[in-house]
């Protein structure tokens, strides 16, 4: 029985290919006729960790739940498989997502004010497409501009559990300039 739970949890994580919450796993197990507590699932996940200690995969907890990932030791081999300028983020896109992450919710105008340059529709589309940001509402000013905030997927994709795990936003620098090198 115990092994069945572990294997079913493993099967779900492998089949889903995305993070799953304990509660979501429980309700699927329930629908398959396996009645368990959340703590049983947590234990099954711990057992999976042990099972895979010598294999190429590992269980990690991220913002949207638990998922199976390939251990970092094998990233290099996999990057050969998914060659091509993989997931390269432009400097502009990184600045935009950072402003959204630390100041959310923000409008496009807010971002433009900080960066001093126009934020292209394509940049916003690109972040929406990645499901890194979503519209959280509209500001009650003329034009009712959309307010953007980051999503759980953004944190998942950076392998983070919650937004507070992002590096701290630097304070205003009064001392010697810490601006890092271009290129």
């Amino acid at each position: 029985m115990k092994n069945k739970i572990i294997n079913t949890v493993e099967a779900l994580l492998l089949g889903a290919g995305r993070p799953m919450k304990l509660s979501e796993i429980r309700s699927i197990l329930e629908a398959s006729g396996i009645l368990v507590e959340l703590s049983d699932i947590k234990r099954a996940i711990n057992d999976l960790e042990v099972r895979h200690s010598g294999s190429s995969m590992e269980v990690v907890e991220v913002s949207s739940g638990y998922r199976l990932k390939v251990k970092d030791d094998f990233s290099e081999s996999l990057s050969h498989l998914w060659s091509e300028k993989n997931a390269r983020l432009s400097k502009a896109l990184l600045e935009i997502i950072s402003i959204i992450a630390y100041k959310q919710p923000v409008t496009r105008g807010d971002i433009e004010e900080i960066r001093g340059v126009h934020v292209s529709t394509n940049s916003i589309r690109s972040l929406l497409e990645r499901e890194w940001i979503q519209v959280s509402g509209f500001r009650d000013t003329p034009g009712r501009p959309a307010l953007y905030k980051t999503t759980k997927k953004f944190l998942d994709d950076l392998n983070l559990k919650n937004i507070s795990m992002l590096p701290k936003l630097p304070e205003v620098i009064q001392e010697k300039d810490l601006y890092s090198e271009v290129v």
């Binding site: 094998f74 630390y102 960066r115 001093g116 340059v117 392998n159 620098i173 290129v183």
Partner: protein, 266 residues
């Protein structure tokens, strides 16, 4: 005055020449230059780069020196036909304004206003925080680049095969929509073939020969659109730099060109 101007223009001015040589203060090897210019994410980024290059603190910003360097860079970007966002010119105007203020005696009226230099420093500092943050975020592991999700094929599910609604129409309509979408990633390269800065300098000088002051927008020709604005602006900066005109900006955001030579010449 016109003669002086014409003589000046006939002399092969460094600024008037297309930028086939690298300004002295650029330490970047020429082949890396394009890469560097392309890597600026905006005027703030360029400005921070120049400040860093001088190895000075933002708080000790020397606007005069930075303004000249900044303008050299945007002229260079322009000459290399980089997409020159209008904001780069706005920043040039801001810098020019601050520079001109530094040279003017402070009147009581000015004291009430927000100091544009301090405002710029505050903006730079704020921008730098997020820029640094974005560099930190760039260092985090990223899915599909630094790590990969594990998945396995699902077994065939007999009775509950998920039915997916898809039709030929969906495919055809979607493709058509994609192809009709404006190509937003394509940058607008500003083409200067028909509009030369050199020529525009002459036109501006001629206008200023007739009148002492003119608003920037009045010097524009509608049909030339954005390109015209850029060329005229560069020409104005050129003239300001060589001391022929003073750029004045009042509270209405309108920039004025005032001839420096008019009075002396008459």
């Amino acid at each position: 005055m016109q003669n002086i101007a014409k003589n000046q223009l006939e002399i092969p001015l460094v600024k008037g020449q297309p930028f086939d040589s690298i300004p002295d203060d650029l330490f970047i090897p020429p082949n890396a230059l394009e890469l560097v210019l392309e890597s600026f994410s905006g005027p703030m980024d360029l400005l921070l780069y120049l400040i860093k290059k001088e190895n000075i603190d933002i708080l000790e910003l020397d606007v005069s020196a930075i303004t000249d360097q900044y303008i050299e860079y945007i002229e260079l970007m322009d000459a290399l036909k980089f997409e020159l966002a209008a904001e780069y010119l706005v920043m040039a105007a801001t810098l020019a304004e601050i520079k001109s203020r530094v040279m003017l005696p402070i009147t009581e009226e000015d004291e009430d206003e927000e100091d544009p230099k301090l405002a710029l420093i505050a903006r730079l500092q704020e921008y730098q925080r997020y820029k640094t943050a974005s560099e930190n975020i760039a260092m985090l592991p990223l899915v599909d680049r630094d790590f990969f999700v594990a998945s396995a094929a699902a077994p065939k599910i007999k009775q509950k095969e998920p039915s997916i609604e898809i039709s030929i129409k969906d495919i055809a309509n979607t493709m058509q929509e994609i192809l009709e979408r404006p190509k937003l990633t394509n940058s607008h390269h500003i083409d200067f073939e028909e509009l030369s800065t050199q020529e525009r300098i002459q036109i501006l000088l001629e206008i200023l020969n007739q009148r002492e002051i003119i608003s920037f927008s009045q010097t524009l020709r509608k049909k030339e659109g954005k390109k015209g604005v850029v060329v005229t602006f560069l020409a104005s900066l050129e003239l300001a730099k060589d001391g022929y005109v003073t750029l004045v900006q009042n509270k209405s955001d309108q920039i004025y060109l005032r001839s420096n030579n008019a009075k002396g010449a008459l």
